[in-house]
């Protein structure tokens, strides 16, 4: 099981970590909430948990906990622009259904 990061996303993550001045890497995860069941977690990581799995790609460490891994396997993290807005995007093959806005999803 694995997750991946595109080059632009890795660049941004590196930049944000540098700007923040501390942190091991980036946590990807899911939590149960939202209008359609699940929601993504995207956080800086200062401490690792026991069940964390670490992936290193394009020079950044991506950290995923064991439970989230079940929902994120095969996910690619991308960074894109939509109009004036910009941000990270999960390309998750496990998703079967999303709420209208796409902030939460079903697997």
């Amino acid at each position: 099981m694995a997750v991946s990061v595109t080059e632009p996303a890795a660049q941004r993550v590196k930049h944000f970590l540098e700007n923040r001045g501390k942190g091991i890497g980036l946590r990807l995860g899911v939590k149960t909430s939202g209008c359609s069941g699940m929601a993504y977690i995207l956080e800086f990581v200062d401490e690792l948990n026991e069940d964390d799995q670490i992936f290193e790609e394009n020079g950044v460490k991506i950290i995923v906990d064991a439970k989230s891994m079940l929902y994120l396997d095969g996910t690619e993290l991308d960074f894109t622009k939509e109009g004036l807005n910009e941000g990270f995007k999960f390309n998750n093959p496990n998703v079967t259904d999303e709420c209208g806005c796409g902030e939460s999803f079903h697997v």
Binding site: R12, V13, H15, F16, N19, R20, L26, R27, K31, S33, G34, C35, A39, Y40, I41, L42, E43, F44, V45, D46, E47, T80, E82, G83, L84, N85, E86, G87, F88, K89, F90, E98, C99, C101, G102, E103, S104, F105
Partner: protein, 621 residues
Amino acid sequence: MALLQISEPGQTEAPHQRRIAVGIDLGTTNSLVATVRSGEAQTLADEFSQKMLPSVVRYLKDDIEVGAKALQTAEREPENTIVSVKRFMGRSLDDVLKTYPELPYQFIGESKELVRIQTSGGAKSPIEVSADILKALKKQAENNLADEIQGAVITVPAYFDDAQRQCTKDAARIAGLKVLRLLNEPTAAAIAYGLDSKQQGQIAVFDLGGGTFDISILKLEKGVFEVLATGGDSALGGDDLDQAIVDWIKENCQLPTVLSSRMRRVIKEHAKAAKEALSSSDLTKIHFKLDDNNEVNLELTKTQFESLIEPLVKRTLIACRRALKDAQLKTAEIKDVVLVGGSTRVPLVRQKVAEFFAKEPLSSIDPDEVVAIGASIQADILIGNKPDSDMVLLDVIPLSLGLETMGGLCEKIISRNTTIPVAKAQEFTTFKDGQTAMAVHVVQGERELVKDCRSLARFELRDIPPMAAGAAHIRVTFQVDADGLLSVTAMEKSTGVQASIQVKPSYGLEESEILEMLKSSVEYAQDDVEARRLAEQVVEAQRMLESLNNALTKDKDLLSAEEYQSLKGSLDQLATLCQGSDADAIKAQIEKIDHDSQEFAAARMDKSIRLALQGQQVDEI
């Protein structure tokens, strides 16, 4: 799907509950909006990649234009295009007309009410105009963030008074923004440089904008910012640097005596471009065509430019020195200097500031953006994205508060630049025997005489029990709360009777007026000392006249007719001297009477002791 940003550990929001907050620099000339995304503060641009929104609003019959578009028409339609509306915030019609007699706007309103401007789109208050600027910034931010703004931190000048702050809040409310807090501009700049994470130290924020100059001295202690002093010049900025070049162009080539407005604009634009070019090169060419097709072809060196603007830069340093003095600090005690405002890009400004403070100023963040950046960092904390941080920011009162004492003198209770909230009390007493009421006249200003200060409020304390002059203890308390609201309470201590009043000390006071009041207090310092001396002598004389005249009426029998006439004559002479302005003569006369009346006083003392002892047994005493 929605685009996501990186959160702090454990701070991921539930969907549709993203805590998005922005920082807004609502400037006189330009405004900016910034936010923190994935932990990084950044200013947000509009669809033309412009970060700075000119603070200009044009009112048409059924439309409103904000920003660059409005600015273009400012010259064509000055009466409907409101520029630099920040100057009018919280100001009454009288204030505005007095301070800016030559503006193209049609001001309306009652003389003491908040001013409004008549436009094609109807009457607009400065609050509404500011709200339209804020609406444009809000839209600009929402276009960038693809979400609704949950809250905003809006910056205001450190010297903004309560009325101006309230107007800014009202404008935000109209624009549909929730104000998390107003933040002083210099404090925002210091936060942008992360100075709040340092433990302590004094910081100077040097802000040379388009049309205004502000210097603020902040004190940082345990993550808390306190404004120690503010100063500056409300009519000094980049425009003046441009004007210096314009004047130089006029001196160095034959220009027609009357210039068209288009020509004036062209010259100004070239002057501005030359100024900007000289920030990175030693020589620039100024070349343009006049209306009559004659050409202007000049070369301006950096050295020439610097000698042109040197007097202006010097003025900023004088203000710095004064602010330091107000803060009771030496330059060596300033730990960091922060540069704000586009005009701090001028190398001479940087160099002189560095020399003055004897340290290299912080300038790594774009000086145009630094205030908005700092505000967005604060907004991010306040909206709850960084739960570990907390910052409390204090304010100061801009002018001393005091009350009128006998002789028209101003007794300062709270001196200027005192941090608020604050409460201070002082005891006063009655002037006349049997006095049962006391008028309390609350004034604001730095001068010694009440007539030179600003009257804020009057009230009376009644039902003081009749006592001898000077026997009553009346405690007057001045209290200024965190919102700048002043309450004054007077209480007679033996009975507890009290009276009080609440005022907003700053309402309707123009910044230039504050500066004027400060300036005049220095200019007239010597006059004031003399005026105070005279007033004090007059009060002393009146006290003497009051008590001696009473005594003379009561105990006439203790004096020979001759002595009585002599004393009475001296007192009349004193009364006459009090009408004049010779403090020394009054003082001499008081001393003379004091000397002459010593025997009379002794006789009165004997008499009262005799009366007290009369008919009493020795062991009863």
